[in-house]
Symmetry: C2
Subunit: 324 residues, 2 copies
C-alpha cells in the first residue's frame, strides 16, 4: 500500500510524461502551464490510495486518477475567468497570462484531455468509472453555478451553502475515492462507503478553508488573511453569523459587508471581531470536525485490514491539522 508522498510522485511523473508539446502551441501551452504551477494533487492521490486499500497493483487507477486531476485543473481555469481572478498558486491565471479566449478554449481542451484519460480505464470497469465521472463533472458545474448565483442573492442560508460546497468541492473528492474502489473491483458497499467518506471530508476541507481564510496563522498559511472578508464572499463564517446574530449585530455585519471603500484592515478586524463575539470560529471548527468524523466512520466501514487505511488517515490528519 502506498502513502501520500509515493502517490504524489507517481502523479507528478505521469503528468510530466503526458506530452503537451503539440500544435497549435497556443492551445496546449496553457494546459502545460496550469499543470506545472503546482498543486497538492489531493484528488488523484486519494484515488490511488483508495485503490491501494484493496490492491498493491495500482496501474489500473493511474489514468482515471490523472483524468480527475486534469478535470480539476480545467475547473480552476474556467472558474478563474468567471471569478475574474488574477492569480492562482502565486502565478498569473491563464486568462491574464494569455487572454480570455485562450483560457476558454484551452479549458475546453483540458476537459476533453481529462476524458481521454478516463477512456483508458480498463474495459471491465470503464462504464462505471465513466458514468461516475460524468455525474460528478455535471455536479461540479452545478456547484459553480450555485456559487455564482449566491453572489447576487441576499438570503443564502447555511444549508444552501453546504449544498453548494457539496457540489462544487466534495463530490469530486468523493468520486476520486470511489473511482479507486471501482478500479480495484471493490464491492458496491465498499465503493459507496468510500464515496460517503469523501463527501464528508470534502465538506470538512472547504469549511476548514473558510476558517483559515479568516483565522489562519498568517506566516504558516502563506496567503493574506481575510481575503474572503474583503471580497464579501458568502462563506460559512458570514452566513452562520447572519443566521445567529441579533438584529443589532446583523446590521453591524451588514454595514461592513456592504461597505466598499473602507480600509481593508479595519474591515477585516471589524468582521472578525463580530465573528468572535458570535463564537463563529468555534462553531466552524465544531462543524468541520463533525463532517470529518462522519467521514471517518464511513472509512471504518470499508472492509479491509485497518492498517491499510493508515496512509489515507495520515494524509487527512495532516490536511486537517494545518495551522492548528
Amino acid at each position: 500500500m502506498l502513502n501520500y508522498s509515493q502517490c504524489f510522485e507517481i502523479v507528478e511523473n505521469r503528468l510530466s510524461a503526458l506530452s503537451f508539446e503539440r500544435n497549435p502551441v497556443e492551445l496546449y501551452q496553457p494546459v502545460k502551464y496550469i499543470l506545472s504551477i503546482g498543486g497538492k494533487r489531493i484528488r488523484p492521490c486519494l484515488a490511488i490510495m483508495s485503490h491501494s486499500l484493496f490492491s498493491d497493483t495500482v496501474e489500473p487507477v493511474i489514468e482515471p486518477a490523472l483524468g480527475i486531476e486534469i478535470f480539476h485543473n480545467f475547473t480552476l481555469l474556467h472558474d478563474d475567468i468567471m471569478d475574474n481572478a488574477p492569480m492562482r498558486r502565486n502565478s498569473p491565471t491563464v486568462h491574464i497570462k494569455w487572454n480570455q479566449n485562450t483560457a476558454i478554449l484551452s479549458g475546453d481542451a483540458m476537459l476533453i484531455l481529462a476524458y481521454q484519460l478516463i477512456s483508458r480505464t480498463k474495459i471491465d470497469v470503464l462504464p462505471k468509472v465513466f458514468s461516475l465521472f460524468n455525474k460528478t463533472a455535471l455536479e461540479v458545474c452545478e456547484g459553480q453555478q450555485l456559487d455564482m448565483n449566491f453572489e447576487k442573492l441576499s438570503d443564502v442560508t447555511v444549508d444552501n451553502y453546504l449544498e453548494m460546497i457539496r457540489l462544487k468541492t466534495a463530490v469530486l473528492i468523493a468520486a476520486s475515492l470511489a473511482t479507486g474502489g471501482v478500479t480495484a473491483n471493490a464491492t458496491a458497499d465498499d465503493i459507496n462507503n468510500l464515496y460517503q467518506f469523501g463527501l464528508n471530508i470534502g465538506i470538512a476541507f472547504q469549511l476548514q478553508d473558510d476558517y483559515l481564510d479568516a483565522f489562519a496563522d498568517n506566516h504558516q498559511f502563506g496567503k493574506t488573511i481575510g481575503g474572503d472578508i474583503v471580497a464579501n464572499k458568502k462563506t460559512y463564517l458570514v452566513l452562520s453569523a447572519l443566521q445567529t446574530a441579533d438584529k443589532n449585530l446583523i446590521n453591524e455585519l451588514k454595514y461592513w459587508i456592504s461597505e466598499k471603500k473602507t480600509n481593508t484592515d479595519e474591515k477585516i478586524k471589524a468582521v472578525k471581531s463580530i465573528y468572535e463575539r458570535l463564537n463563529i470560529p468555534a462553531r466552524t471548527k465544531d462543524l468541520t470536525h463533525k463532517f470529518f468524523s462522519t467521514g471517518l466512520e464511513y472509512l471504518t466501514k470499508v472492509k479491509v485490514a485497518d492498517n491499510r487505511k493508515d496512509p489515507i488517515i495520515q494524509l487527512l490528519t495532516q490536511i486537517m491539522e494545518r495551522e492548528h
Copy 2:
C-alpha cells in the same frame, strides 16, 4: 434504411425527450435554448444514415449521434463568445441573452452532457466510439485555435486554410459517419472509407459556405450577403485571391480588407469585383466539386448495396445544390 427527414424526426424527438428541467435553471436553460433554436441536425442524421447503411435497427447509434449534436452545439456556444457574435440562427447568442459566465459554464455542462450520451453507447463498441470522439473533439478545438490565430496572421495560405477547416469542420462530419459504421459493427475498411468520405464532403461544405457568403442569391440564402467580406474574415475566397492576383490587384484587395470605415455595400461590391476578375467564384466551385467527388468515391468503396446509399447521396446533393 432511413432518409434524412426520418432521421431528422428521430433526432428532434430524442433531443426533446432529454430533460433539461433541472436545477440550477441558470445552468440548464441555456442548454435547452441553444438546442431549441433550430439547426439542420446534419451530423447526427449522417451518423444514423451511416449506421442505416448496414442495419435497419438504428437504436445503437442514436445516443452517440445525439452526443455529437450536443457537442456541436457546445462548440457554437463557446465559439460565439470567442468571436463576440451577437446572433446565431436568427436568435441572440447565449452570452448576449444571458451573460458571458453563463455561456462559459453552460457550454462546459453541454460538453459533459455530450459525453454522458456517448457513455451510453453499447459496451462492445464503446471504446472505439469514445476514442474517436475524444480525438475528434480535440481536433475541433485545434481548428478553432488555428482560426483565431489566422485573425492575427498576414501570411495565411490556402493550404493553411484547408487544414484549419479540416479540423474545425470536417473531422466532426467524418467522425459522425464513422461512428455510424462503428455502432453497426462495420469492417475497419468500411469505417475508414466512411471517415474519408465525411472528411472530404465536410471540406466541400465549408468551401460552399464561403462561396455562398459572397455569391448566394440573397433571397434564397436568407442572410446578408458579404458578411465575411465586411468582417475581413480569411476565407478561401480572399486567400485564394491573394495567392492568385498580381501586385496591383493584391494592393487593391489589401486596401479594401484593411479599410474599416468604408460604406459596407461599396466594400462588398469592390471585393466581389476583384474576386470576379480573378475568376475566384469558378475556382471555388471547382475545388468544392473536387472535394465532393473525392468524398463520393470513398462512399462508393463502402461495401453495401448501392441503393442503400441513396438517402445519403440525396441529402448531400440537396446540401450541395442549395442556391444553384
